[in-house]
Symmetry: C2
Subunit: 328 residues, 2 copies
């Protein structure tokens, strides 16, 4: 490797796996390493796994560890990025974990901590569907719904670092109960969790669907993206109907965001969005357009599927590490 090959590492702490991406100075991807996580492991155990996975990524890139300039971890939860603390990450069972400090003491490089959705948004903005734009909203649809905001080329993290919680935008005041305790949040109307709830309820009430069968075949206890894809491929009427309703609500969410922020692009990522791509986004775009107050130039606002897939979080975390170093 040439001497100038400084490396930055981005780490994505998913619910079921860890991912680390090593980027060179020009943001070229040198390596991506993935390792499964066990649920119910204490923070200390997971932190060791993060460190090991990070070392593997750097080894796979063929770069000596001394070339690593910084690491940033994207965490599914609320973080204090200034102090490198994970304030609350329900899916990891973490509260007030001093992640940056702990990783630094193991790895001896500067470590930063960011929200995973902000990281994913940053990646789509710099390297993905939003490349070349200055104002972009990222929406990630999975077990929950999260968002990231880029204004004038900068990530908008908010006064408390709490910006982007668009999954808890209320769209239907008396709608279904959300995990957060409120009613009618878009997360309770259009996330994969909401879709699974609707499918299960309908089946319990006698609706016919291939979903149960597919889950048995694939030994899945949850309605994962791949189960959804399979059911849609079989034109399962229940799945088609539930998907249509979720897309409709996502369309209203997108319209609410465009009416408020008038961005240049809205990029929709997450498992289903990236697998279905334009087929997922087209009905969302149609509803969003109908709900826009200002119809002039609406086609200039791009509503696009994300293109970085499951690597978005790790790549974005690396980009944010660079930003923390002031190289951006």
């Amino acid at each position: 490797m040439p001497e100038k090959t400084d490396v930055i590492l981005g780490v994505d702490l998913g619910g079921t796996s860890l991912r680390a991406a090593a980027l060179d100075r020009r943001n070229r991807i040198l390596a991506v390493e993935k390792t499964p996580t066990q649920s119910g492991v204490a923070a200390a155990g997971l932190i060791k796994d993060i460190a090991a996975n990070a070392r593997n990524a750097v080894a796979a890139a063929g770069v000596p560890w001394t070339r690593v300039r910084a690491i940033c971890a994207g965490v599914p939860g609320a973080v204090d990025s200034e102090h490198g603390i994970v304030y609350k990450a329900p899916n990891l069972g973490w509260e007030n974990v001093r992640l940056a400090g702990k990783l630094e003491s193991i790895l001896s490089v500067p470590v930063f901590v960011e929200n995973d959705v902000n990281a994913g948004t940053m990646a789509e903005y710099m390297l993905g569907a939003g490349k070349g734009m200055r104002n972009m909203i990222g929406i990630f649809v999975g077990t929950g719904i999260g968002g990231g905001l880029i204004f004038e080329g900068k990530l908008h993290e908010g006064y408390r670092g709490a910006a982007g919680e668009i999954g808890h935008m209320v769209l239907e005041r008396n709608g279904p109960r959300c995990g957060c305790g409120k009613k009618g949040c878009v997360e309770a109307l259009a996330s994969r969790t909401a879709m699974e709830r609707d499918v299960r309820t309908a089946i319990r009430h006698g609706a016919k669907s291939v979903v149960t069968e597919i889950m048995k075949e694939r030994k899945r206890t949850r309605m994962t993206s791949s189960v959804i894809m399979r059911a849609l491929a079989k034109r399962d009427p229940l799945m088609l109907q539930v998907m249509k309703r979720a897309q409709y609500h996502l369309g209203i969410l997108v319209a609410n965001l465009i009416n408020t922020l008038d961005p240049e692009a809205v990029v929709i990522g997450g498992g289903i969005a990236e697998r279905l791509a334009e087929a997922f986004v087209a009905p969302i775009r149609k509803t969003a357009w109908e709900y826009l107050l200002r119809q002039d130039g609406r086609e200039r606002i791009k509503i696009l599927p994300g293109i970085l897939g499951d690597n978005a979080g790790a790549l974005g975390a690396a980009l944010l590490a660079r930003r923390h170093l002031g190289q951006n």
Copy 2:
């Protein structure tokens, strides 16, 4: 006047009156002039009135016209601020009016055009309730509901100049029909127009209320802010109930905005908000807090009534004129 007294003028084109504010270099208010407008007047007539009112404000300030550096008009509608064109202003009956060009040919000074709510937000940010903050959302509740966004000290106008249309955020998918044609926009749930609709419907269905009587006494055909104030002062049960419902919906709007943008402050202006002040905002704050996903540090986010009253639009327009001159 000292030789250095350059003046900037802000003009507010309201539905029932015109207002012009003259500011000196230090943003001190030298004069505010107001004149009523006749409805149904053609654009040319109103433009002449704007020019006359602007001249009166400068005369009242005791400054020669040659000291006026720029004028900015705040317009209730969609504008192309780059070209000084009013794209669409339903309350004025205007479409594609080249306002800047026409005023310039009469007044011989540079004229800029901005949205009136953006102007009002700018005023509260620079001179009013949001003074000293860097990230602020302005919400103006009147016949409609409009918003303005300040991020990092700058007005966020959006990619098409269409940002801030928060009145058309859908909060209740199958809610009451909005003037825009959609259902369940917050404007159809919590504007003065929505409150008037609810009061009239209830009275038609036999509810007792002093509102009809107050409107007769005051010779009003609409339920204006002053009618609302009077009914509230008399503890009219219907008015209290309708107001409470509007505040509840505004609380959800504020929560949706904070969950998305995490600003430092939300300033709520407009006739009712400024007259009732904290009594109007307190229930909104209570609901907003309940609906926040991130509860940590919620009391650090200020939710405040505006303090500039009916002058906000004209003052903000003047500040935006200065910004257009690059003095900001």
